[in-house]
């Protein structure tokens, strides 16, 4: 589904990613773990096209998308749930979700978008209850559900999630991760960037460990969780 090779990216003259290579197969949930400042968000933004790569190749289902604009990448089937949620606070929940389907509605796929809306509201019933409310009035967990739901409205083949657990209570995090795990059954491939490594590895098939812009380890999620050096060095507590 996704193949990244020797990707270099950064901001201005600051190089953040140093020849990152990774792959996500169809239907997999892959997590990307690493501390603050490792480059997880930079990688996510470069993949989604909101940041242009300096070097390297990104292929989505075989098609090169490196350097393509974000709106094009969304149209090709990749949607990003940005770090910090970034929902549209002054708009209603329904309007936020409709914007998620922007590219599809522009192409005239109104009936299909309506069907996806029903699926998203079934996945997050809280959003259905609050659909006419302004998004800014939602709780943190509901806002995260809205951000995920909004990205799902594009009906992506690959969903990128950037720190969905950020700033949320443990109870809320586990319900959000349950929803993410349930995407596996719906044919959506997931790449998940997380600091909450233990939680992420529990729902993932495989994991990559990113430290200061380089992939230092990769492997099956279960193996990473079982490795004592990994646990003590990267997973902390």
């Amino acid at each position: 589904m996704l193949e990244v090779s020797a990707l270099v990216s950064g901001y201005g003259r600051i190089r953040v990613l140093n020849r990152v290579s990774l792959a996500v197969a169809d239907g997999e949930i892959v997590c990307l773990i690493g501390p603050n400042g490792a480059g997880k968000t930079t990688l996510m933004r470069t993949l989604a096209g909101t940041l242009a790569p300096w070097e390297g190749d990104i292929r989505l289902a075989g098609e090169p998308i490196a350097g393509r604009r974000a709106d094009h990448v969304v149209g090709r089937g990749l949607a990003l749930v940005p770090e910090g949620r970034r929902i549209f606070m002054p708009l209603t929940v329904s309007e936020n979700l409709e914007i998620g389907a922007y590219v599809r509605l522009r192409a005239g796929a109104k009936a299909e978008a309506q069907q996806t809306l029903d699926e998203v509201l079934a996945l997050f019933p809280r959003l259905a209850e609050r659909r006419d409310q302004l998004a800014g009035t939602l709780s943190g967990g509901e806002q995260q559900m809205l951000a995920i739901g909004r990205a799902l409205m594009a009906r992506p083949r690959l969903l990128l999630l950037d720190e969905p657990s950020m700033g949320l209570a443990p109870m809320v995090v586990s319900s959000i991760f349950k929803a993410i795990a349930s995407l596996r059954g719906r044919g959506t491939t997931v790449l998940l960037a997380e600091q909450n490594a233990r939680m992420a590895l529990k729902i993932a098939d495989r994991g990559y460990i990113l430290i200061t812009g380089e992939i230092v380890r990769e492997g099956a999620a279960r193996a990473l969780l079982a490795d004592p050096t990994i646990v003590s060095t990267y997973l902390g507590h």
Binding site: A70, D71, V74, P82, M89, L91, Y102, A154
Partner: protein
């Protein structure tokens, strides 16, 4: 079971616009003289300016400091062509639209690539340049004395003079503009505008071509200001540079802020103040500008959401009282 109808709000807005516009047809009957009627025409022109600026500023979150320059460009384009070259004002209208669109595109394309206040800076510069041109291109514009001898409009041999005829003409033209803005706001594009003013990153990540949408709305609002200039110059048969300078652009920002940015009805109230306040304050003669300034500060202090916000708050209070 009742499903909330997403288009209910939209339908209410269209009905309200229809009602307001129908009521405006009665204004000429109530106007005691031509002077008051002309205030009505000025209100239409102010509304076109404030409404188009609000689309850019209130909804898309982009600050333009050259709305008056586009207004002037439209006025001078059609005014100069018809007064100096005998071109039909209707061709002048086409020139006004083409020139304002081209100028907005050239300024907007590079400055809207960047986030932040680049558009404000670029438009500030543009307004200063245009002011110099209006004054210095004496041969064409008449310089600081103004452009005189601009013909009135005529349609199928009927002259549209500065009375009830022009009122009806402005009623149609500005009505179409306000309908277009309402349509836009209730479309996919309108949601995209409000989205990108909240978070450009999230708007991009959701597939909105942020640069194209911002540029499109900037060009559209400039063209609407140009059309307002066309109305102005053929109403007054005259144009003068000081109506289109940087101060006039800032005044338009204030008008939008006073009415209530990002609300559809804000510009209606803002334009009303823009037209009525200077007349009402005429009694203060030399102190007029002082009283004007103080009243602006007071409104913004006590009603930060603008007059439409104040009206909405009053409506809620009355509604709550009546509900008991």
């Amino acid at each position: 079971m009742a499903e909330p109808d997403p288009s209910r709000g939209a339908r209410r807005s269209y009905a309200a616009l229809g009602a307001v516009w129908a009521l405006l047809l009665l204004f000429p009957l109530a106007a005691p003289n031509n002077f008051v009627l002309n205030l009505g025409i000025s209100w239409f022109i102010s509304l076109a300016l404030a409404g188009s600026l609000n689309l850019l500023m209130g909804y898309a979150g982009q600050i333009s400091l050259s709305h008056a320059a586009f207004y002037g460009l439209g006025a001078y384009a059609s005014g100069v062509l018809s007064a100096k070259f005998g071109v039909s004002p209707w061709l002048g209208l086409c020139a006004a639209i083409a020139l304002t669109a081209a100028a907005a595109f050239l300024i907007g394309w590079p400055s809207l690539k960047l986030r932040g206040h680049y558009l404000a800076m670029a438009t500030l510069g543009f307004n200063v340049i245009m002011s110099v041109m209006f004054v210095e291109l004496r041969g064409l514009t008449g310089g600081p004395n103004g452009l005189v001898g601009v013909p009135s409009l005529s349609l199928f041999g009927w002259e549209i003079g500065a009375d009830i005829r022009f009122y009806l003409f402005a009623w149609v033209v500005v009505g179409l503009m306000m309908l277009l803005i309402l349509n836009l706001l209730h479309s996919r594009m309108g949601r995209a505008l409000r989205a990108l003013s909240t978070s450009e990153l999230a708007a991009k990540a959701n597939g909105i071509d942020v640069h194209a949408v911002k540029l499109g709305v900037f060009v559209l609002s400039a063209v609407m200001a140009g059309i307002a200039g066309f109305l102005y110059v053929h109403l007054n048969n005259f144009a003068s540079p000081e109506n289109f300078d940087f101060v006039a652009s800032v005044m338009l920002l204030v008008v939008v802020a006073l009415g209530g940015t990002g609300t559809y009805w804000g510009p209606f109230l803002g334009a009303l103040l823009h037209v009525v306040l200077p007349e009402a304050l005429r009694a203060f003669s030399d102190f007029e500008i002082l009283v004007y300034g103080i009243s602006l500060v007071l409104v913004l202090l006590f009603f930060p959401a603008g007059l439409s916000g104040a009206v909405a708050r009053l409506g809620r209070l009355v509604g709550r009282g009546g509900g008991r």
